[in-house]
């Protein structure tokens, strides 16, 4: 039985944990009732996005009551939720927790904090340092938080780890209303240029990894900035299989099709033909960061 996944495009209230927790629990209850296996919420879904000096007020560790109640709810359904994590060492992260069977399977701390243009995340958050796949009973997931996808390292590492799907959670603001001429075969439907860019990146990510991409963004406004929705999912061939949603709250359900992914990877065996040692050698030559290795270890063997 392929897992059914709900991408919940919600509208959190800035800094209001209690209201946002209620919103999550209501959505989780509905999804459980609908027989969904995994519900995913957007980046910082529990807190809102442009927190600035509210960041420390809404930071929570995994034992906080808000997280405890979500962990408890994960006995019935797997949950991916965005929150501000207060780590034991005092650092604060833009974090995404994967909750399942009443426990925390993993927490992805956003690696690529965005600090340019309208964004100033590095001012408020510490950066995560790794991309570790989540081993869920529903598959192996690569969690990426918004800007993480605009850099190639996380996607590449998850690709090499053989994830079943990328799960991108985002608080992506919309911008760009200039008219664009549709390309051949495209309809002229209105689309924010930021959403066009996101769509291109997601489709590219699917195509060069032959891996489904699940994208869940939020909606709503914070001081004149709109969060642009467009929650959607593509399969391993970048075919649209769910969404895109518009600018209103809502959700899409998608079934992770392992058969379709397997066929795509059989037709186009990019992972088999990947040569990571060339990357390692190049990084070593250009940055001195990675020792060169002569070849990739076979699957299941000790890389040492």
């Amino acid at each position: 039985m392929e897992p059914s996944i709900r991408l919940a495009q919600v509208e959190p209230t800035l800094g209001n944990l209690a209201a946002n927790l209620d919103l999550h629990l209501a959505q989780i209850g509905q999804a459980t009732h609908d027989g969904i296996d995994l519900i995913a919420f957007p980046e910082l879904s529990l807190t809102g996005y442009f927190l600035k000096d509210q960041t420390s007020d809404v930071a929570r560790d995994l034992d906080a009551p808000e997280l405890r109640s979500l962990i408890e709810a994960s006995r019935d359904i797997s949950i991916v939720v965005g929150f501000v994590e207060s780590a034991p060492d005092g650092r604060v992260y833009n974090a995404t927790a994967f909750l399942e069977d009443g426990r925390v399977l993993g927490v992805h701390r956003k690696v690529h904090l965005v600090t340019y243009g309208m964004f100033e995340e590095s001012r408020d958050f510490a950066a995560g340092e790794c991309f570790e796949p989540i081993e869920s009973k529903h598959g192996r997931f690569g969690l990426l938080t918004c800007e993480d996808v605009w850099h190639m390292d996380g996607a590449y590492l998850y690709f090499m780890a053989g994830v079943d799907a990328f799960l991108i959670s985002s608080a992506g603001p919309g911008r760009g209303v200039t008219r664009t001429e549709p390309e051949d075969g495209e309809d002229a439907a209105s689309e924010l240029s930021s959403n066009r860019t996101w769509r291109t990146i997601q489709d590219g990510l699917a195509l060069w990894t032959r891996t489904p991409v699940l994208y869940v963004n939020r909606v709503g406004w914070e001081d004149g900035i709109v969060f642009a929705g467009a929650t959607r999912a593509v399969d391993a061939d970048a075919n649209l299989v769910a969404g895109p949603l518009g600018l209103d709250p809502g959700h899409v359900d998608v079934t992770l099709g392992s058969t379709a992914t397997r066929r795509s990877r059989t037709r186009t065996p990019l992972r088999r033909d990947e040569k990571p040692w060339i990357l390692a050698r190049g990084l070593a030559a250009h940055t001195g960061l990675v020792p060169p290795s002569r070849s990739e270890p076979e699957s299941g063997t000790n890389p040492g």
Binding site: T13, L14, G15, N16, G48, F50, K52, D53, Q54, G174, V177, T178, R179, T180, S190, E191, L192, G220, W221, E222, D223, G224, V226, L247
Partner: protein, 279 residues
């Protein structure tokens, strides 16, 4: 030539922009419990577009457009404003500002045209904010991005508002929205004017056209061209320099007042919260 083809940079998708701006007004007002709007309607294209957007966002019955002519205002302006009222179906009211403005101007013997214009703009602000309090309605702004960057407005006057749907739209885009929103042709066809005295024209005051300004500003501001890049691309060097200088010298109009920092956390410096704080 100073207006190099800028269509690709400036032409907007009017349906998309309208949808966003209507959502913006509804969401940001609703967040704070407001369901009504008030705005000044001059008969010009900017306030006409704001009025049409507010009518869509709040429903025309919940929008009050106030016509505030001074005795030297062009009578055509009031007629065009009435056309906008008829086209959008909003509530309207006429508040003559001549007596309140002259009360001060005569007392102080103000002859300078800029000072007189500023007093009129601030008198209109007083009227709008009084009606805002009376009706529990938010003041909707009418300043576009071009005039905000040029500083072609009166601080605490026509620039004063709670929500501004036009503030990130170039003048060219305001005209596009006016057409999309089916506003009367008379409003879009006439030369833009602050209408502080009869026969005034924005483009005469500024010394360049809005088309020229938009073409330069969209590159300087949105696309981070340097002034040298613009001159190399064929834009008039003097125009580019004047526009660049106007942006800089008017920055004060775009920011809250400067607060002297004495303590550990200072409002607008390192006391950082959105208006949406808790909403």
């Amino acid at each position: 030539m100073s207006v190099i083809d800028s269509k690709a940079l400036l032409d907007l998708d009017p349906a998309l922009a309208t949808d966003l701006l209507v959502r913006f007004l509804r969401a940001e007002a609703g967040k704070f419990g407001f369901e009504r709007a008030v705005l000044g309607l001059s008969g010009g294209v900017d306030s006409a577009v704001s009025c049409a957007l507010a009518a869509r966002a709040f429903g025309p019955q919940n929008v009050l457009a106030i016509l505030m002519p001074y005795r030297t205002s062009n009578p055509d302006s009031a007629r065009d404003a009435e056309r906008v009222v008829a086209a959008t179906g909003v509530q309207s009211k006429l508040v003559e500002i001549s007596d309140m403005v002259d009360g001060y101007l005569d007392q102080e013997g103000v002859q300078d045209q800029t000072r007189r214009g500023n007093v009129m703009a601030r008198a209109r602000m007083i009227v709008l904010y009084d009606h805002s309090a009376r009706d529990n309605a938010l003041v909707i702004g009418t300043s576009n991005k071009t005039e905000i960057l040029l500083g072609y407005s009166t601080q605490f006057g026509d620039a004063a508002c709670a929500l501004n749907p036009l503030g990130d739209l170039w003048k060219h885009q305001v005209f596009q929205l006016a057409a999309h929103l089916d506003l009367p042709d008379e409003v879009s066809a006439k030369p833009p004017s602050a209408d502080l005295f009869e026969g005034q024209s924005d483009e005469d005051d500024l010394g360049f056209s809005y088309a020229e300004a938009d073409a330069v500003l969209v590159r300087l501001v949105d696309h981070r061209w340097s002034q040298d890049d613009l001159v190399r691309a064929g834009f008039d060097a003097d125009l580019v320099e004047r526009l660049g200088r106007r942006i800089v010298i008017n920055q004060y109009k775009r920011l809250p007042p400067i607060v002297a920092k004495l303590g550990e956390r200072t409002v607008n410096q390192d006391f950082r919260y959105l208006r949406s704080w808790g909403h």
